[in-house]
Amino acid sequence: MTLLQMLIALLIFPGGLFVLVNGLAYQWARRKLIARLQNRIGPRWFQPLADTIKLMAKEQIIPDGVNALLFTGLPVLALTGALTAVLYLPIAGLPSSASFPGDLIVTLYLLSLLTICTSLVGLNSNDRFSVMGALRTLTQLFAYEAPFMLALLGPAVVARSWEISQIASSWNWLIVTQPIGFGIAMIGLMGKLELPPFDAPEAETEIVAGALTEYSGRGLALFHLARAVELVAGLTLIAAFYLGGLSNPLDYLLKTLLLLVALASIQTLLARLRITQTVGGWWRYGVLLMLAQWLVIMLGRTL
């Protein structure tokens, strides 16, 4: 890979510009879908982009008594993590721009970086709502992370590889053979993105905006972008693993949008869970179901 190719992969496709635009477009699609399902009009197509530009242009207020370096640095780190993860994914149905044996594990950890950064800024923010939000974010992380990882490792076991591009190119419709894993991966993605019903960490009627309460301007915009990128990354990963891989851009568009519709529907249907219910639900049902799934996979492999 030449320097030019590397720069293009980092800044334009798939790493930088493309995935940001893709993320904002998907955020719009999700918001519009939910609005229509809720009998509302919903935002115009450029609304997420307009919000981002507006926030980028606004002053960032750094509260007294916080570590300014962490306060401004952590949002950048969160977005960096999400953008780096994208390099290992078959974005737009094209081969991933980087890969090595074991990149699945790295990607999963890079995707967790957003959550960890969110909780760190909450603890750094010196605000009661932020601290409560940060604690809830962390608590929720411990609830969904294990089953979510197990759900994405299931396809890896079937493909006998820890490399995303190899797993994706085995073209298995694992949603048929591992429906539990698919469900848990989807719901885990919602937990990761803190979408309803897992939005207790940012439940506005309880703790205002959770860990990001003190954020304004650039920092907030970066977190929003990171979340948009993470939405695309999560959908791509699930589509590539469970829906028979991604062979071309059209394939990618269809499958990820299908998943987005499913995501929006779940989000519309449910009321917010209390944080105890989230944790209880994941460990009581999520983990056990996932372990049962693993038992079946293991038995299938040995027999």
């Binding site: 506005e204 009627t205 009321a271």
Partner: protein, 391 residues
Amino acid sequence: MAEKFTIPIGPQHPALKEPGHFEFMVDGEIITGASVRLGYVHRGIEKAAEGRNWTQDIYLLERICGICSHVHALAFCLGVEQLAGVSAPPRAQAIRVLIAELERIHSHFLWLGVAAHEAGFDTLFMYAWRDRETVMDALETFTGNRVNYSANLLGGVKCDVTPGIASQIYRAVDNLEERTRHYLNVITSDDSLAERTRGVGVMTPEQADQLGVMGPTARASGVMRDIRVVAPYAAYTDFPIQPVTETAGDLQARFIVRLSELFESYRLIRSILDHLPAGDLKTRMPRRVKAGETISRVEAPRGELFYFIRSNGTDMPDRVKVRTPTLCNLASVLTLVIGRQIADIPMILVGIDPCFSCNDRAVSLVDNKGERRWTWEALRQYGIDYYRRWR
């Protein structure tokens, strides 16, 4: 967490639609103590009422609440009519009840939406408020206003039911009855919502008695407190209502009571429209009201609304005292949240359907150390000096 960690809710907070200040002491996610401070939206309406004549006061008092405005005017008019020894014609009384029940529908639908939003169930919120538009439209056609209907006069009402209006109300009620049945089904059968409401904020009948709660909040705990039944006013004697009570006392029961009593409202509205008494809309009312004092109680959507009115024989009231149901119900919140989780605070608070602006009757001025309070004399002198400076 050994030391006390306080979560402030308000005066400005997304969970509160109006300013109020709550402080919750928490241990992790569990609440160990609660306190409330009110008075952020004190508007001096009672004092203002003393400086205006009886007719002007209707407009003023109707603006105490933006949701249940009609019942305020109704309570005031009934009280003043009682003082003056005048009674409104039967047709006017029936129309007053008709509007009061339409207003109850609008208020309960609004509450359902807000409560669903507090639970993070925005879909129900949006749908409930869409359906609320039906009754708002009917009220607008009927009285000319979506809120602050201004339908009452001393000694009667302003607006009459024409066949066109009647058929629109019939249609609205048919539509809403079907929707209410659906929502009742949703709140009892939807698991994610039931998880947030069942067994939350349980209030026993004894507690309800002790805390002196009113209206649907009391009825959800099996305590039958409904002024429409125990002391019928206006046309409720001719069109009696069957009270709805629940025994569970939790949040879900408060949902069920509020939605179930809507069916009573629908029945009552149909029955009033079917058997509307003929006759005048208003009777003659003297400009000056005989000296005396009276109490007027009506059932607002949130519970008992209490008016004390004293006249000194002039065309202005000597004293008007208003007690709204929120004041009676608010204490229950502080008791019920203890031992619950932070996530339950907005739910329990919204369970009483609070209305802070209606409730605020006094301001206590505290400095930021929470100590110095103004005496009445000092405050008065401050006011005089302040305006003298700017004159």
